[in-house]
């Protein structure tokens, strides 16, 4: 890229803004998922006794959230993020290049 024409320069600018907006989209989804993560991990422990009043299939809900419920959400969140980001890569034309 020794001699850039104006057209090239515009393209470079376009790519820069594209990468910037890709990063912003990434930050946005990370923030949303971290809020869910926080809500699932740190809110139920405050209300265990109240949640325990609800019993489903023998499981008091408060105990269930700590032992299984939050874990299921964690697994789903990670797979969702992987799917979302891999799709975002494609939307922004960031795949198909080696490695």
């Amino acid at each position: 890229m020794a001699q850039m024409t104006n057209v090239d320069r515009d393209r470079v600018e376009e790519v820069k803004t594209r990468l910037e907006s890709y990063w912003q989209a990434n930050i946005r989804i990370i923030t949303i998922l971290l809020i869910i993560w926080f809500a699932v991990a740190y809110v139920p422990p405050l209300f265990v006794n109240q949640l325990n009043q609800i019993v489903i299939a023998g499981f008091p809900l408060g105990y269930y959230m700590g032992s299984q419920g939050s874990l299921i959400v964690f697994v789903l969140e990670i797979f969702f993020y992987a799917w979302y980001m891999n799709k975002l890569d494609e939307d922004y034309g960031l795949v198909g290049i080696k490695r």
Binding site: M1, D8, R11, V12, E14, V15, R18, L19, S21, Y22, W23, A25, N26, I30, L33, L34, W37, A41, Y42, P45, L46, V48, N49, N52, V55, I56, A57, G58, F59, P60, G62, Y63, Y64, G66, S67, Q68, S70, L71, I72, F74, V75, E77, I78, F79, Y81, A82, M85, N86, D89, E90, D91, Y92, G93, L94, V95, G96, I97, K98, R99
Partner: protein, 677 residues
């Protein structure tokens, strides 16, 4: 690798591990039948499992030997995401997860769930904040990242030292676990167990480094998960008639609450914050190997705990998990950034299989014990309880069990009561044998003390009992108990493997090659790497043989230490361009200093505390201090060089940078910009 060879490689892996799994199941069934019909001796079955599994790991280790640095340190970056997930699972789940965690849940009730949530929730942080960027960075170690990002050997060496401290305490605990399992199931001496176990670890990691470790860990994951699930599935069928324990233990929880009420047990299993947070499981495992660590202390009166203690512990475990070097380096080994994202998902899924089963183990076992052990005549306990009472894992502290005991050989709980003056034994007839009539003192005053019926408080349960006794409670043959031991061994060995690689590469790669001798040839680096694996293993053995109480305690602290040192540095390194070297060094040292200070002060004197948070969660103070120092010191010192900021930019998108601009220029945006998505 081209797409077709990659697919062929994947298929070959699926086929090999499929055959491996099938073969292992057949082997177990054959042994089971031989035991049932020919009555094989139990020691023989134990040895069969030991030799077979260790032999398998050795074969995989030898097949995977390598002389290529990329393979030795990062398995050639060719591990498919799902297999890396299994390897990460085995790397992560230690002897403690496998054997003691269900027991901790039994003992702690709801409060124990901090470990379940903490050790899984950390993977969300890993997936969102670290794994793809670590893969994009694509070097060998975590100090590599810290060194490259924060420009210099100072930051690298500080990180290498932190990695060695965290990994070494952890590996020593694994080696201790191996010794305990070996001595219990094949009857060898503890020290010999340590030596045999370590040679098993070395066969893998010495010749093949990360490549051999990865493929062994996949096999070890398969063995450990089979071993964990089989006994509890049968127990679930026996108790509820339904073969999926994770769904059916609700029934156990209901019955536990009913029995608790009937028996007047005040602290309910599902009610939170019954006790101050403590390191009970660490203390228990320490006792088991013959140590006497200080009892957990708290400023709160017995019987109260606080939600924020629970949350602080969960937080430290989560952040620490994401900061542990031996887990982070696993994400160097996948082929691409895309693959690294799904790989974390698989890793957590495979870990989840064990962690969401652990509460089922605990609940079934508690149900069984409340139903069939508590409230029964001590003389007529179920046979499994009587058997495990002999091993000392199930302590029955009813005074009538002392009848006929030798005065000089009292059980530990009785000696403790005598020492504290609660129990007085006046050997009236001078025969050296205890009779219940000879007992007096405060311990005998309770109306139920000498009625011969087992009360709930008269049970003293070791955290290891729950998983180990389940095959017997479910009425399964000894082969299944040996299978469980093989699983525990796989869990301990696989974690030790991964840790040795971290320690060896911190010394050979980060300190020697990167810092001292940047001109060293590939052969020299390889030779030094291998030598360091040996040295680290030898040091771990030396540290494990004396069974120091400090080691057990330090493992409980490893998470807070990892949280306070690595997490903020790696995170700001990726997400904040302005973070610089002096900031990172100040952050790591300051975070560690605050954490260690709080730990030591609170451990020595529980009166020293903030909001009653225990030394286990000391990282909760170190993490913000680390972040604050990075921010302030970075702002006060020069902005990182343009080169460094460029490195941060390249981390943030999944492509190779050199080609990026050119290729992107030829590839216009595929669709209208999805910016508002």
């Amino acid at each position: 690798m081209t797409v077709t060879t990659k697919d062929a490689f994947r298929q070959k892996l699926v086929r090999s591990y499929g055959i491996f799994t099938g073969g292992f199941i057949v082997f177990t069934i054959v042994l089971l039948l031989l035991e049932l019909f020919l009555g094989l001796p139990t020691a023989f079955i134990g040895w069969c499992f030991l030799l077979l599994t260790m032999g398998l790991y050795a074969v995989i280790g030898i097949i995977s030997r390598t002389k290529i640095l990329d393979e030795y340190y990062v398995a050639g970056r060719s591990v498919p995401g799902i297999f890396n997930g299994m390897a990460t699972g085995a790397d992560w789940m230690s002897a403690a997860s496998f054997i003691s965690m269900a027991g901790s849940l039994w003992l702690l009730g709801y409060d124990g769930l901090a470990y379940i949530m903490g050790w899984t929730g950390g993977y969300v942080l890993l997936a969102l904040l670290f794994a793809p960027y670590i893969r994009k960075f694509g070097q060998y170690t975590i100090p590599d990242f810290v060194g490259a990002r924060f420009g210099g050997n100072k930051a690298r060496v500080v990180a290498a030292i932190a990695a060695i401290i965290v990994s070494f305490t952890y590996v020593t605990a694994q080696v201790t676990g191996v010794g305990v399992i070996m001595s219990r199931f094949v009857g060898v001496d503890y020290t010999w167990g340590v030596v045999i176990g370590l040679s098993g670890v070395l066969v893998c990691s010495f010749l093949g480094g990360m490549k051999a470790v990865t493929w062994t860990q996949v096999a070890q994951y398969i063995i450990l998960i089979i071993a964990y699930l089989v006994p509890v599935i049968f127990l679930s069928i026996k108790l509820t008639g339904f073969p999926i324990p994770e769904l059916s233990y609700g029934q156990a929880l209901t019955n536990i609450q009913r029995l608790e009420q009937e028996q007047g047990i005040a602290k309910s299993y599902v009610t939170p914050y019954n006790e101050p947070m403590s390191n009970k499981s660490a203390v228990d495992s320490a006792k088991q190997i013959g140590l006497t660590p200080p009892e957990p202390k708290s400023i709160f009166p017995q019987g109260t705990g606080m939600p924020w203690e629970f949350m602080a512990l969960t937080f430290c475990l989560m952040v620490g998990t994401a900061g542990l070097p031996h887990i982070l380096i696993r994400f160097y080994t996948v082929p691409s950034v895309r693959e690294s994202r799904t790989s974390v998902g698989w890793a957590l899924f495979f870990i989840f299989l064990l962690y969401f089963t652990a509460p089922a183990y605990a609940a079934f076992s508690r149900w069984e014990i409340l139903q069939n052990v508590v409230g029964q005549q001590v003389a007529t306990l179920p046979s499994w309880a009587a058997n495990w009472a002999k091993t000392g894992l199930l302590g029955i502290t009813d005074l009538t069990t002392l009848e006929g005991a030798d005065m000089t050989k009292l059980p530990a709980w009785a000696s403790a009561k005598v020492a504290s003056g609660d129990l007085v034994i006046s050997d009236g007839n001078g025969d050296g044998i205890v009779q219940v009539a000879e007992l007096s003192g405060k311990a005998t005053e309770a109306p139920t003390a000498t009625d011969g019926i087992l009360q709930f408080p008269e049970l003293d349960i070791s955290a290891d009992l729950i998983v180990l006794s389940t095959p017997e409670i479910a009425g399964l043959p000894y082969t299944i108990a040996a299978l469980v031991a093989a699983g525990g061994l796989a869990a301990a060995l696989s974690t030790a493997d991964g840790l040795l690689v971290v320690i060896a590469s911190a010394v050979a790669h980060d300190v020697f090659y990167r810092t001292l001798r940047p001109n060293a040839s590939a052969e020299t680096r390889m030779r030094l790497g291998k030598a360091m694996v040996l040295v680290a293993a030898a040091c771990a053995a030396l540290a494990a043989v004396p069974r120091l109480a400090l080691i057990v305690q330090m493992v409980a602290w490893a998470f807070s230490l990892a949280a306070a040192s690595f997490f903020p540095v790696v995170m700001t390194g990726i997400f904040w361009r302005r973070a610089n070297g002096p900031g990172a060094i100040a952050g790591m040292i300051g975070g560690l200093a605050v954490t260690i200070f709080y730990m030591v002060m609170n451990y020595i004197n529980p009166e020293f505390n903030v909001l009653g948070i225990s030394h286990l969660s000391a990282g909760i103070f170190g993490v913000p201090v680390n972040f604050a120092l990075i921010y302030v010191v970075s702002k006060l010192t020069a902005e990182p060089s343009a080169e460094m900021q460029h490195l941060v930019d390249t981390l943030r998108h999944p492509q190779e940078d050199d080609e990026l601009m050119e290729q992107l220029l030829q590839k216009p945006m595929p669709s209208p910009a999805p910016a508002s998505k």
